[in-house]
């Protein structure tokens, strides 16, 4: 062999070995280094999961009456893979279905579209799944509609009807409770990509309210059948077949009958306020057991029908939920509405003044108005009362006494030039009552309210300084009045300072203070029970479908209100006086239940959309019976007018329902709870056969 051949042979040999090494390296990469990825890829090629959603747990009231439950429904589906192939892309068949279901064509059309197919802003009701599965357009078809579809498959081509479980809010006692219960909906892509929870595309999950809060319990575990398929999608074997495990039931502290009565009392109060000429755009009412924090009823106005989603939400319904014109029904005023507490706050001012050394048994001047610095502050709910004691001052809701006390204390703290060791009695006392802190109720979306103390002032000033200092250019044209310009100028110079006006307004619950109706309920319950701020609790227990208790929610203290026993006894007397000889005396005259409470009429700055000035917030915060408090009841009607004539009457209606009051007499047979208050015995739950207790 000559040298050139030898060389070539060697080159060939090296080449062949390199090729084999390349193959070996690639093999190592595919099978060892990256093997896991390919194993997963292979699994997704071979296996198909068929998901059977679990029956969702029921939400019941304290007696086991279902507030929310799954029931059998008829689902109508549209198969896009069929209708898209029609010459008109299925327009004709959707029109036929639209007339059968009595749903407007645009609504039905939107429901058959993937969300990505529709422009942003027109996606209401759009389908969040894939186009390869039949798209449900309603789950509440009637049997007649379903039959028509099944009998005329050619006429309704691509349309099908199947029985499915649907979420139902049966409203057995006429209650609505939408803001407590929330609603359910299909899983979104975000849910599907969640790393903590495993969801499947055709499942339903809680979107808000209790449905959201207790989703992990209510959901259950879907049944999954995993089949191994071959290339032609023929099933070769079943790898896994699990039956669905139904979700747990959530038993709440709510009493359906009281819930219905509370909603009715609130709606009636709103109507009464409107008949008095007020706007009354919204409201809330809450009943709490002062000994446990259990929420027995909670209503928000305006409300919506939680069954809407199952019927198939229309574009208009979806818009209305968040529209100002309809009063934003989606918002739960009880926990998401924040209002100035107005005179209901004076119960807290009493405690602050006592701490500052004021004697509650002494006499104080209650003039019609008081000059603080250059500004004149008026009595709001009352006129001049002369020299009166503190008890009467609370009863008649005198403001000027509080102006004086707050102004004096403000001056002692250094006025516009604050000292180093501030007392800030009013602010620190309010903070101790958890003003500006959410109650921690077991519902999503609760807000904090606002404690407008010095720190808040500074933060607000830092955030808005530019606006105040450039007010003429930045404000709306309608806000360029000489008065507002002057205020803006003042705010620009030293808006971070706590001024005398801020201090005196704070003492009567006005100004920048904001509380939710639930926060005020918690505070009044604490005053009633001697000082414990119980965490408001809606759920009482979680039980399995077989009755086994999964979790029982015992009462949780959220801290102690800064109340001494003399504070408590003074407040109990003074608040009782409100109903006997004060601002609410007219409302509760001859009422057989001894109610203690406080009216509040809160001034609101700003204007409505139509330019009219906002009406006052009507409050009544109360507890009863006065001697041995059991219930705290609070009602608030936004733009409702006076506290007494609107909310106090509503609260009286609620107490009437609790105690079975007709006219001026108590009918114990009609009382909702025993004389020792609500019991906390976990009821048996059987949603399908539940009946209202007849008493």
């Amino acid at each position: 062999m000559n040298s050139r051949s030898r060389m070539s042979l060697l080159v060939l040999q090296v080449l062949v070995i390199s090729l084999l090494l390349a193959l070996f390296g690639r093999l190592f990469y595919l099978q060892v280094a990256d093997g896991l990825r390919y194993q997963n890829a292979a699994l997704s090629i071979q296996s198909r999961d068929i998901v059977e959603p679990a029956v969702r747990g029921a939400i019941t009231d304290r007696a086991g009456i279902p507030l929310a439950m799954d029931r059998a429904g008829l689902e109508i589906t549209v198969d896009r893979s069929v209708i898209d192939k029609m010459p008109d892309q299925g327009k004709a068949v959707i029109l036929k279905l639209s007339s059968l279901l009595k749903v407007k064509y645009p609504d039905l059309y939107a429901r058959t579209r993937l969300c990505g197919e529709l422009p942003v802003g027109q996606r209401t009701g759009c389908w969040n799944g894939t186009r390869y599965q039949p798209i449900p357009v309603t789950k509440l078809a009637t049997e007649a509609q379903a039959l028509k579809i099944l009998e005329n498959p050619d006429y309704y081509k691509g349309i099908d009807s199947t029985p499915v479980p649907i979420r139902s809010y049966p409203s057995l006692a006429g209650e609505n409770a939408a803001h407590i219960l929330g609603y359910t909906g299909g899983v979104t892509d975000a849910d599907l990509s969640s790393t903590t929870k495993v969801y499947y595309r055709n499942e339903t999950i809680g979107k808000t309210g209790l449905e959201y809060q207790y989703e992990p319990y209510l959901h259950g575990i879907p049944g999954i059948k995993t089949v191994i398929v071959d290339r032609k999608e023929a099933i070769t074997q079943t790898a896994r077949d699990t039956k669905p495990i139904p979700g747990d039931n959530v038993i709440t502290n709510i009493d359906v009958r009281l819930q219905a009565a509370t909603e009715k009392a609130l709606a009636t109060s709103v109507a009464r306020s409107r008949s008095l000429g007020y706007r009354a755009d919204s409201g809330a009412a809450i009943v709490m057991d002062v000994k446990t924090g259990a929420i027995l009823a909670m209503a928000s106005y305006p409300t919506y029908d939680p069954n809407m989603w199952q019927k198939g939400l229309t574009v208009q319904q979806a818009k209305d939920l968040f529209s100002e014109n309809t009063g934003v029904p989606a918002l739960s005023r009880a926990i998401q509405g924040a209002y100035a507490p107005a005179s209901t706050f004076k119960a807290l001012s009493v405690v602050a003044a006592t701490k500052a050394g004021y004697n509650m048994n002494a006499l104080y001047d209650c003039p019609a108005q008081l000059k603080v610095g250059t500004q004149v502050f008026h009595n709001f709910e009352t006129k001049s009362q002369g020299r009166i004691n503190m008890n009467d001052a609370i009863a008649v809701s005198c403001d000027t006494i509080w102006y004086q006390i707050a102004f004096d204390l403000w001056l002692k703290d250094g006025g516009l030039f604050p000292k180093k060791n501030l007392n800030d009695y009013f602010f620190s006392n309010a903070a101790a009552f958890h003003i500006g802190k959410a109650t921690g109720v077991d519902l999503p979306g609760e807000i904090n309210g606002r404690l407008p103390n010095r720190a808040w002032k500074q933060a607000y000033y830092d955030a808005n300084k530019k606006f105040f200092c450039d007010y003429k250019n930045r404000a709306r044209k309608s806000d360029l009045t000489p008065y507002l310009i002057a205020i803006a100028h003042e705010n620009c110079l030293d808006g971070n300072k706590l001024r005398a006006g801020d201090a005196v307004n704070f003492a009567i619950g006005q100004g920048d203070t904001l509380v939710t109706p639930l926060q005020l309920t918690q505070i009044y319950a604490a005053i009633a029970n001697g000082g414990t701020l119980w965490k408001p609790q809606i759920a009482e227990a979680i039980v399995k479908p077989n009755g086994e208790i999964v979790k029982q929610f015992s009462k949780v203290s959220d801290g102690k209100a800064p109340l001494t026993s003399s504070d408590v006894s003074f407040l109990h007397q003074a608040l009782r006086a409100v109903a006997t000889k004060g601002t609410a005396a007219g409302v509760f005259a001859n009422f057989p239940i001894e109610v203690s409470g406080k009216t509040g009429t809160g001034q609101v700055l700003g204007r409505n959309a139509n330019g009219s000035a906002k009406d006052d917030t009507s409050w009544f915060a109360s507890f009863a019976p006065a001697a041995k408090p059991q219930y705290a009841v609070v009602m608030m009607v936004s733009q409702g007018g006076f506290g007494a004539s609107v909310s106090a009457v509503g609260v009286k209606d609620i107490y009437s329902a609790i105690y079975g009051v007709t006219g001026n007499t108590v009918n114990p047979k009609k009382a909702l709870f025993s004389s020792t208050g609500p019991s906390y015995i976990i009821p048996k739950v059987d949603p399908k056969n539940a009946k209202l207790p007849t008493k």
Partner: protein, 391 residues
């Protein structure tokens, strides 16, 4: 043509002509034998694994493919044995006939109504009994023998092939190659190209031939794709190599499934007959061109690595035989066989793992298919023949 018929006799230490069975088998390269036997046994198991559940699900005989494969191996074994019996220097005498016969076969397959079209190529001649013959497989042997013969026609001991020798040798290769391109069968044509370059390089021919041929090969490929000479399905296959999503339903699908199937085997594999990808028939043509994916899934890195190891032993022994023989014809035959198997093995396994574009060539000794098996076994016989007679 005179060269074809001109026979030169060289001295040999062993008998010239047909020896006894015992003599022949005792003289074979045992390691080469062992490696090929291992590949044949594994190949049979893999062909069985690739087809048994599929046939069983169709209520057909699950052993159908296995049986036919074993028949092919037996026939191939007899052909290999027969090849070792005749002194390869005698084969040299028959080379022109062999070559002529294969060219006729390649022409025959192109005649209308004769060749059957599979996957877009007219490569098979139907035979009675459901058997098919692929002339291109046998043409490779003819090209190896023909080129080796022409380029080893040396006049004296130190002379090297002249330019005219190279031109003749090229003609011997290009005629069948051209006919194969007409089918069209790109894979087989590429194998013949690699045989051409391997044999010319080792023959001692002027090195500019090697360089020149490589350049011409690349240029031809480029022009062919541009001018549309290469069929659309071939372009698609090449495109899907570059971008697996280019043709997701067909070749891209096949390549992706093939990679996933191999990768999902992991280190130890799913176990023979237990591969879900294989049993679900997610890889088309799995018993033929994609047989390596069965090994990847069911035998894992260990089993597939062992197959590569067997091929390594095969090439190692083949190179040893090529180097040890003093006869230029024998050496060039070995080099031709090496170039052929090396390219075909790399192309086939590389394709299943996404290293090479998709061309339909079977994996030597393992893929199901009679013609390929026969050609491989005859080539094995040639290697053993050279080995026996170079000692």
């Amino acid at each position: 043509m005179s060269n074809f018929l001109h026979l030169r006799q060289r001295r040999s230490r062993r008998t010239f002509g047909i020896g006894s069975l015992r003599e022949n088998l005792s003289g074979v390269d045992r390691l080469l034998m062992a490696s090929v036997s291992a590949l044949l046994i594994l190949g049979s198991l893999l062909v069985w694994a690739a087809t048994r559940s599929w046939f069983a699900s169709q209520n057909l005989d699950p052993q159908y493919y296995l049986k036919r494969h074993l028949v092919n191996i037996v026939i191939g074994g007899l052909l290999a044995y027969g090849t070792t019996l005749i002194d390869y220097r005698m084969i040299r005498a028959y080379t022109p006939f062999l070559w002529g016969f294969s060219v006729l076969g390649l022409i025959f397959v192109l005649l209308p109504g004769v060749g059957s079209t599979v996957n877009g190529a007219k490569s098979w001649i139907g035979l009675p009994g459901g058997f098919q013959l692929q002339p291109a497989e046998l043409a490779k042997i003819a090209v190896v023998a023909g080129m080796a013969m022409l380029l080893s026609e040396i006049r004296d001991i130190d002379s090297l092939p002249s330019h005219s020798d190279v031109v003749k040798a090229l003609a011997v290769a290009l005629i069948p190659m051209g006919l194969i391109m007409l089918q069209p069968d790109l894979g087989e044509a590429l194998i013949i190209s690699s045989i051409v370059i391997g044999i010319i390089a080792v023959s001692g021919a002027p090195s500019r031939w090697v360089v020149g041929l490589l350049l011409v090969g690349l240029l031809t490929g480029f022009v062919a794709v541009k001018a549309g000479v290469i069929h659309q399905y071939q372009v698609k296959r090449l495109q899907s190599f570059v971008d697996p999503n280019a043709d997701p339903q067909q070749s891209g699908y096949q390549l992706r499934q093939s990679r996933i199937t191999i990768g999902s085997g992991g280190v130890l594999g799913r176990g023979l007959f237990n591969g879900p990808q294989t049993n679900g028939r997610f890889v088309p043509e799995q018993q033929t061109d994609f047989i390596f994916t069965v090994a990847g899934e069911e035998l894992g890195f260990v089993g597939s690595g062992f197959i590569l190891f067997c091929f390594f032993i095969f090439f190692y022994r083949a190179f040893l035989i090529a180097r040890r023989t003093s006869d230029p014809f024998g050496r060039l035959v070995c080099v031709g066989v090496i170039a052929w198997f090396a390219f075909q093995t790399f192309e086939n396994i590389g394709m299943t793992m996404g290293l090479m574009p998709m061309t339909g060539v079977p994996l030597p000794f393992m893929s199901y298919g009679g013609s390929s098996m026969f050609a491989n076994m005859i080539a094995l016989g040639l290697l053993q023949n050279v080995h026996i007679r170079s000692r």
